[in-house]
């Protein structure tokens, strides 16, 4: 009984919070949200020094203009800027620019009637808040004292909706500001520079109506050209109220605010993380199918390609990309085969046999993992030249196999150790020799670990860049990682071709990697730690 009262009391408090937030939001929207400055009249006066005769004359003229504006009821101020220069004869000259600036503010409410895109965002935010409050009321009334765990379906749905709507309102506040920046700076700029053709007049008429009360008329281009604006931060003050609504919504729905918030933050973190990781891939995809003009567009006109040019793929194929992919396949495939052919017996010996120098060899394996081919580049280049493997795919196979050998042994040994030797012993009793028991018994059982190793070595060899770029000089022998650099020479980077080729180089490996993700990590660390 007491419990029911406590819950009912909490729910009443939450409802009150909804109503207070709504009322305060209404108040906040009547505060000035944006402060604008726009030049209504400018006059430049050359060969004028501050304080001289000409200055006084022009200043009086400008003041008279300002006075006229004031008489018509506009709030204007006069500002001046001085540019001093030395002319070709070595004399100091000075130019004074006068400007009559109109300053005004707009409240949040005034946006609603403006017909601008941001008005709809603001309206949506307000509607979300009102509906959130309504849903909360509908969900709470009739089940005021009910435990959160035993709500009937309808009130539960209403209560959930109130929280979700409050969250939506919260997110719409920054969208409102973004929208305003976009409309009043970016879109105006695009129209004034005549970069986008349609809709200018209608849009400028709306801005005239909203900003200047329709008085600018034909001067609207000039007025908007000098438009400066900054937000006063007033609308940001809605954020805490929307947040309070959301918390109240969580309170009436789940009881425990902390738990829900922690879960919410968890999801928010994961979503942001995933978007951030995927961002470069989005850029690659979008840029790969643009036209050259669009990849180098310094006006930043289009977020997405206006026309998806899949012909770019044909262009890069004509430039030999298929050949590079084939080379990469050969190099990575060959390296993988060699690394496994050498690595499996070694890993088997390390896992199953006792011999002198085992720990020395293990130490050597671990240490040789430390040597990247890059530091030894000079030595490798000389060695390859001495072996007459310069500019050859076979040379790259061997080097990649050698530098992945340690990793292969490490991963494979970990797999073999984790499999009990009993089955092999049984096979031996049945008359199998060591090789037979390895091939027929151990390898099938170790298949997941072997596939992991195989893919890992393959990917490392596929992505290798430095050694190949040094050793390969003939174009037709290049692997894809080196091949894509032909699209970015110092004079001109063909971004669309570069990224189209990059996509082809990336997609297969990413898919392969996703297949082994689960097995790979356990192999990586267990091999290292258990030594």
């Amino acid at each position: 009984m007491n419990d029911t009262n406590a819950i009912a009391k909490k729910n009443r408090t939450a409802l009150l919070l909804f109503l207070i937030s709504l009322a305060l939001t209404a108040v906040v929207l009547s505060l000035p949200a944006y402060r604008f400055t726009s030049s209504v009249y400018t006059k430049k006066s050359a060969n004028t020094f501050v304080g001289d005769e000409k200055y006084t004359e022009v200043r009086a003229e400008v003041d008279a203009v300002a006075e006229e504006y004031r008489a018509s009821g506009m709030d204007v101020s006069v500002s001046e800027s001085v540019t001093e220069r030395t002319n070709s004869k070595g004399e100091a000259t000075s130019m004074v620019a006068f400007s009559v600036d109109q300053e005004f503010t707009k409240t949040g409410w005034s946006f609603l009637g403006s017909g601008l895109g941001s008005a709809w965002v603001l309206l949506a935010m307000l509607l979300c808040m009102v509906m959130s409050t309504a849903c909360a009321a509908a969900g709470v009334i009739g089940s005021m004292g009910d435990d959160w765990h035993h709500l009937d379906g309808r009130s539960a749905a209403f209560r959930t909706a109130s929280g979700v709507l409050a969250l939506a309102a919260l997110l719409l506040v920054p969208v409102f500001f973004m929208m305003n920046t976009y409309l009043m700076s970016r879109r105006v700029g695009l129209y004034l520079d005549e970069l986008i053709p349609e809709g200018k007049d209608a849009f400028f008429a709306k801005l005239d109506g909203f900003l200047f009360g329709g008085q600018a008329g034909e001067n609207i281009d000039d007025m908007l050209d000098g438009l400066r604006f900054r937000n006063t931060g007033a609308v940001w003050m809605v954020l805490p109220f929307a947040a309070a609504m959301m918390l109240a919504g969580i309170q009436i729905r789940n009881g425990s605010i902390t738990h829900t918030l922690v879960r919410g933050l968890l999801y928010a973190f994961v979503i942001v993380l995933c978007l951030f990781i995927l961002y470069p891939y989005y850029v690659m995809l979008v840029t790969a199918f643009r036209s050259i003009a669009e990849t180098n567009d310094s006006d930043f006109l289009h977020l997405l390609p206006t026309q998806w040019r899949f012909g770019n793929l044909k262009d890069i194929v004509d430039r030999g990309v298929l050949r590079y992919l084939l080379n990469s396949l050969l190099i990575a495939g060959g390296a993988t085969v060699i690394a496994l052919l050498c690595g499996i017996p070694a890993a088997y010996a390390m896992a199953r046999m006792r011999f002198k120098g085992k720990s020395v060899f293990l130490g050597f394996v671990i240490v040789s993992q430390m040597f990247s081919p890059v530091v030894l580049l000079i030595g490798i280049a000389q060695l390859i030249a001495a072996l007459h493997l310069n500019d050859s795919i076979v040379g790259l196979m061997l080097i990649n196999a050698a530098f992945n050998q340690a990793f292969a042994i490490w991963l494979l040994r970990g797999t073999f150790v984790s499999i009990s030797p009993e089955m092999e012993q049984a096979a031996k009793i049945d008359g199998c020799n060591t090789v037979g028991s390895l091939v027929r018994v151990l390898l099938p059982m170790a298949a997941p670990g072997i596939v992991t190793t195989l893919i890992f070595v393959f990917i490392n060899a596929w992505n290798e860049f430095t050694i190949s770029s040094v050793l390969i000089s003939t174009a037709s022998n290049r692997p894809i990682t080196v091949g894509i650099t032909q699209f970015s020479n110092l004079n001109m980077i063909e971004w669309q071709n570069l990224f189209a080729a990059s996509l082809l180089a990336t997609i297969p490996v990413v898919i392969l990697f996703m297949c082994i993700e689960k097995h790979l990590t356990s192999g990586l660390t267990s091999g290292g730690v258990k030594g």
Binding site: S185, Y281, F300, A346, I366, T506, V529
Partner: protein, 294 residues
């Protein structure tokens, strides 16, 4: 008698292919580099007589030597340090149970699986001032009013390079930590809960000590990988301006293959190699001590 001899030799035969492969392509280049470093080397790479430490003196005397060494230090410390911290946090989050965890983990694999040249090229395009995608997206979403110059000085460019380094290194750390986290016995936390331990207590007393081995492995391997990382800097700035953004690896590449100063380049190679050897040594001592405990 014959049988025992055979049994004694057998393991070495199994090891032989692997040893030959590594000896030829790992040990041999190391020897070549060492020999070159102490010899007179002509511009075409021909080896002359023994010159002692002359090449090392030349290398240290290069105007960019100090900058490059400091850059290498900043590069390794910032990339390894930050990616370890961030990777740990991300692994902790991805270890929770939530909807879409598998998708999130699959996405986290992306940077790890992508070639560094490709990654560096994409980021290079993203941060271009005149037409890059970051300015495009921020302008068209109305977040900024005008295009921002994201690479206004070489210090900032170097920071971007470090950022890309961190971006590509995080997945490796995160997956290493995740595998460590998944091997922790859940009953430990239940016991701690019964004892009334707080979240932070559990983190510092249970999670961190048990994940430490995985974290050590990933940190040491990362130091090696990051120290040797070449494509990011090569693609984004090529060390410009005047080697101010070079690290040891990119610098020795430029010295050797562009400037044809092969003597100092091999000396730098040996210096880099010795630094790696010290890391390897520290790591080995750690592994050996671990083995004694087990």
């Amino acid at each position: 008698m014959n049988k025992t001899l055979q049994n004694k030799i057998k393991p070495y035969i199994w090891l032989l292919p692997s040893i030959i492969l590594m000896a030829l392509f790992v040990i041999f280049p190391i020897m070549i580099v060492f020999r070159l470093a102490f010899s007179e080397v002509s511009k075409s790479g021909l080896m002359g007589g023994f010159v002692g430490l002359q090449n090392f003196k030349d290398a240290i005397g290069l105007p960019a030597f100090k900058t490059v060494m400091l850059n290498t230090l900043y590069w390794v410390i910032s990339v390894v340090g930050l990616s370890t911290v961030l990777g740990f946090i991300i692994a902790m989050v991805l270890n929770q149970k939530f909807h879409g965890r598998k998708i999130a983990r699959a996405i986290l694999v992306f940077p790890w699986a992508t070639s560094l040249v490709v990654q560096a090229s994409v980021w290079n395009y993203i941060i271009k001032y005149e037409y890059g995608n970051l300015n495009n997206i921020l302008l068209n979403l109305g977040i900024i009013k005008e295009a921002i110059n994201w690479r206004s000085s070489y210090q900032i460019e170097f920071l971007w390079e470090c950022g890309v380094g961190i971006f590509v290194t995080i997945p490796f750390v995160a997956f290493c930590v995740l595998s460590g986290l998944q091997s922790i016995d859940g009953t430990l936390y239940e016991a701690a809960d019964i004892d009334g331990a707080s979240y932070w207590d559990k983190l510092w007393r249970i999670t961190v000590p048990l994940v430490k081995p995985s974290l050590t492995v990933s940190t040491v391997l990362n130091i090696i990988y990051v120290f040797n990382s070449f494509p990011i800097i090569y693609t984004m700035t090529r060390g410009a301006p005047a080697n101010k953004t070079d690290t040891l690896v990119t610098y020795l590449y430029m010295l050797n293959f562009y400037d044809r100063q092969k003597g100092p380049a091999t000396a730098l190679s040996v210096i880099g190699f010795l630094v790696l050897c010290i890391c390897a040594g520290v790591y080995m001592v750690g592994v050996m001590r671990k083995e004694e405990e087990l």
